[in-house]
Symmetry: D2
Subunit: 402 residues, 4 copies
């Protein structure tokens, strides 16, 4: 399905990352890696494996027909495998997709298609954190109004605001690195998660520990972790990665919200120079990055909820829930990636108006009696914030670097 | 953004309904209708209007470039309007998009793109209701186990189950008809919802009530209702339609869940002959329609929540929430449409095993003492259900026909 | 379960509306009404009915014990009915709860407990709409900055902002009135929704149409609509009311968001005098009503999603989903009611600073060249908004009055 | 707010864990610990601190009045602090709540109130995992139908089903232990998160590093981690714990769903002996634990979404979102805890019908030709599952023990 209104919530180079062509290429990559691994483990003859692997060439497949059959069968893998077998000599066909099930293909492909988007997301998140840390260092002592419940409350420093934003991004990076390491793994459970057909085939091999070799070779080829268990209907490790993305989207939403508020004409403490214009009003300059961050933070919780709601899956493979999970995933990943990238780029060109921050404090002071003004709105309160800011910088940089 | 895993949750002919090309064609339709209506109301000269309208030809526009600029500007309409103006003689360009704002274009286009999907959905829903009503009539007295909390509880009739399913679909049709009538309307508020630029232009017209004429003409051309108020940042009428779709998805999810349970091998009361096979197991016959219905019912609540969560929108146009709403809408509509279509088709070929329904009752009776068996599992209890079923049929048919 | 942090999102007099005592009283009201209706229909002897009805006295029941047993049985009604029967002479006991099932008791009680909260909500919503319409009339021509994407865009009138807020509330009132009329109904399907036991008992009555009489009498006693069908596992009519509440919560969230933005010190166009202070900062004056409206708008979508997600319910009564729906409902209703009440009260004392609205326009003009300033920020643009405002007032008042 | 229908989704002894009395006691614990820590750090005189701490006695406070004022001020802490100060001699009052803000009190109290519920949840989760591992060991080779898309697919072992359920619970335990260690921490940022007032007070102390001492003493007293940063409006660490709870709820929902399906009369492979009866049907035995697990899994995603949606919080303290988060938390925690406890108890008494598992396989075989029956439904396929099961047991036990 195409949704042009989602392009705003997707990095430009990921717009087709989960499109039909990418899916077909990914599924074929799975099938080729499977049969080559089986050859490596002595389960399939080398020449047969090579013929099958070389048939895994996307240009030979009718994507549209696969899509149509896929919808009828509730699985893109079923027609893909059938088409692959049709391309092979009958005596080879039985060795294609041997011991695998359609969910093995689909889950592994979803993982593979996610990898580059996720990698870029982490790069962007690190850039964003660095940019915010640089602002934090530069403005550690820059006084700014602290606002609680949308009212002027006291004074903090702009640096501390930046450091706290950065800290939330750094924590997200740390979390995503860890959950990615768990989640980016091969699915290869076979028809019902017992690897029964694979085990039977491996039993015919002359090699010792053929199954272990097979799985390791395949995982390595695809750049994934091995999984010692099928995760066909136990989705928590995969969903955990999604939730960490949603947490990042939430933290970025806070940044976008703050930027939006600080960029109001009447506040004027920040300006985003990221090119948002207007079809009607030439004088307008909209903050697109903060808009994307706010919109993505609004969408991510619902996708996270969809992944969670899809966790109760019947028996060995789900009847509806898993298919819904597959469909919900790309928007969560892409939306969060778009938010990260937009903010990372905008952070690099963010215009900070320190004098305006100070004059906004002065304006509040002017409305108060001298005692209250001094007790709560002395710009020197920024020094406390500065101390805290400075203490945060080094540890955050370290976390980012490891 | 493309998401091949969503094709399962989209009617085949709606896969590109919200794609980039559809969006560009729709936006151009808006611009052409606007200028022709302005000409009709004496605001723009006829020849200028015709030249602009004929420039609204999608083949002349670089879709990809518009997409890229659209993401940068958080609005597909901004680069589209710019491209349109570049195609015109400078003296005409000022009359294109006159008095409109990008949200006018985008909201109206979203409405227009939704119309055919929604129309088909209503046709399918009516077909589904009819098929269920036919089953209800046929099986009004067919005894079947009534099950509560997933346990055999007593006896009802399969006809009553069908009638209650049908009734929920009929109520959904009635609701969607009503909310559609409200929601399928023109957005034409101008830059900030006051139609100020339009009013100024109309004031130059020699015609009386030029603005009213303009709006009516434009709405008529596009097959939409007029809106007497801008709905740029007040989204309840549009979201209400979305919620009615989600209600339908929920009711269909109940049907899919029941079908799935009744189609289990051990229960065997229903079989869906809708062609779901398996890549590994040739003996399997999966219920794809019920799978789609269950999956769609899992997704719809989250999209409904996203629309609701996006309702708090700042001032005259939102900074993130509206853009998120646009992105969330297509999956809700298409997912519900796919569920409706899948069930409508499957209902026509549903295999009902009445003898098995009876033998399942007998199996329960065999585990109980005679008194309990007769008190709760006498197949004649189906007669009460039959009475209720028969009383429901005619009123439901009437509601469907009006 | 008690949750003190929810008190903020609940009208003060509804804090216990869904508490254990209210539930027990409501369930007993159901049982008394049932047996009196059965007596009226000639199914139960008058003296037996009176004895049972008089036993339906909450002071005689051990609420805590019922709660504990209720959790064990996944139903408060089961121990309540057991306790009621224990209070009766064995020869009477068989006539208590006759023909009803625990879900009949629980659904009907949920409806009854909701009624007063909903009534107050509608009163408050009407008050809010009236207050906003009064502001709209007063400020129809008061110029104010129109802001799009959080940036100054042009000029509108404060009256139009108020009229559009009011219109969304009026639409919600109209919707809730309609869905309430459908939803506030009796549940009386018996064990599996066929009313089998009731029908059997009514067949013994000497009265014609005993079942019809019984149901009508019972519904009337409880102030509810009759339901011609069981809705044990078809929840759309009830959920539709919940969705209309969520739509109202969303529209109120927009009002709260706008008020919050306009009440910022730097903007200063509105002030809420609703008493929110600070434990640390005596100079602060927080807008509590807008806070509640924003918080409730954040919560409502998730509750709406929960109701929708709970719609797929197995067979004749659900195994988990219905019980979840019961648990999710009160917060949706109370949260929306609290938002409505808070805004209604705050609207009555809202401080509007028209001079500040004008000076904010002037401040924008000062940053633009004269032509742009005049083209987009001429305060006279408010006149277009005024026209629209004035045209809206009477129709809205009429809708509110009917 | 009270919600009796939530009792089903709350461990019996946690029903009042977040009630008004618990909140007041918790907030007073905070104030006492604060002033005693200040005394320890030389900021407040010992006798003053002792007088204040001893005034922190819940029996002296009017809970109802605090609740009413709390709702008006959008904060229970504001009236609590005011009431505390009223109880003190004016010369002491200034030392109560010194340097803290109401959010410090409320966040820390929410954490403290959550601790015992979370501790019990972990105990129950471990019990559940142990029970499932015992079943896995016992039934490692017990053949059972493997079912995909709700259809018989092949053969696995009941032990593998149990081992995979257990593994998901163990992963959840590991995750929750880790996120709890991060999340159960003190909030003490002062008015705007800079600890400015605390720092000022500490500067008067004769002790070195008075602030560090103060914070450490207070955290230790309350059994919490120190937080080196305020988390007033950066909620990710706290929300991460909530998401881990939701992941557990999802995994438990899968178990409940499977149990429900296997407990159907027609399947008969499992029976839950956990006492769920029926108000109308004495022959029924409902599976309450699986019902609770399914219901909780339906609710948790929406609460998780609410926490995520509440993450974008304005500036130094939120205007609505944080307050919504506080209100949403208890149901997520209690619902997950109830699900865990219910399944843990039911697992201990689960009735496994191995012969029925085998006869269900035989019934499928009887419908197939001999070749298909042997290829896919040979009970010996359970041996592959057994191998996998056995390999899983020890590592899982180890993870549980550490």
């Amino acid at each position: 399905m195409h949704n042009a209104a989602e392009a705003l919530f997707c990095p430009a180079d990921a717009v087709d990352a989960f499109g039909l062509d990418a899916w077909i290429a990914g599924m074929l990559r799975f099938e080729a890696a499977l049969v080559m691994a089986q050859s490596h483990a002595g389960v399939v003859a080398v020449d047969v494996a090579l013929r099958i692997a070389s048939a895994c060439d996307a240009t030979r497949f009718d994507a549209k027909a696969i899509a149509i059959e896929g919808a009828k069968n509730a699985s893109l893998a079923i027609p893909l495998v059938a088409a692959l077998k049709r391309q092979l000599h009958p005596s080879d066909a039985g060795f294609a997709h041997l011991g695998a099930t359609s969910q093995d293909v689909l889950d592994t492909t979803q993982v593979m298609l996610s990898a580059p988007v996720l990698d870029q997301l982490l790069v962007d998140a690190q850039d964003l954190a660095q940019a915010l840390l640089a602002l934090a260092a530069e403005h550690a002592r820059t006084p700014i109004l602290a606002r609680t419940l949308m009212q002027s409350a006291s004074v903090t420093s702009f640096g501390l605001k930046c450091a706290l934003w950065a800290a939330s991004v750094v924590r997200a990076v740390v979390r995503i690195r860890a959950s990615r390491a768990e989640a980016m793994r091969l699915q290869l459970g076979g028809a019902v998660g017992t690897q029964a057909q694979l085990r039977a085939a491996c039993a015919q091999s002359t090699q010792a520990q053929a199954l272990g070799k097979l799985v390791q070779h395949m995982a390595q080829t695809l750049g994934l972790q091995m999984s010692n268990q099928p995760w066909h209907s136990h989705r928590d490790v995969w969903v955990a990665l999604g939730l960490d993305l949603a947490l990042l989207a939430g933290s970025l939403g806070k940044i976008g919200l703050d930027w939006g508020l600080m960029s109001q004409f009447e506040v004027g403490e920040l300006a985003q120079r990221d090119g948002g214009g207007s079809s009607a009003m030439p004088h307008k300059q909209n903050g697109v990055a903060s808009l994307v961050a706010k919109g993505a933070a609004l969408r991510a919780p619902m996708r996270a909820a969809a992944l969670l709601a899809a966790m109760p899956q019947e028996h060995e493979r789900a009847h509806g829930a898993w298919q819904a999970e597959l469909a919900e995933w790309p928007s969560l990943l892409c939306s969060t990636a778009a938010s990260t990238q937009a903010l990372a780029r905008a952070a690099a060109t963010l215009v900070v108006d320190a004098p305006r921050m100070l004059s906004n404090i002065e304006a509040v002071r002017a409305h108060l009696d001298a005692q209250a003004a001094d007790e709560w709105f002395d710009p020197n309160w920024a020094n406390d914030a500065a101390e805290q800011t400075v203490a945060m910088l080094e540890p955050l940089k370290k976390q980012l670097d490891t």
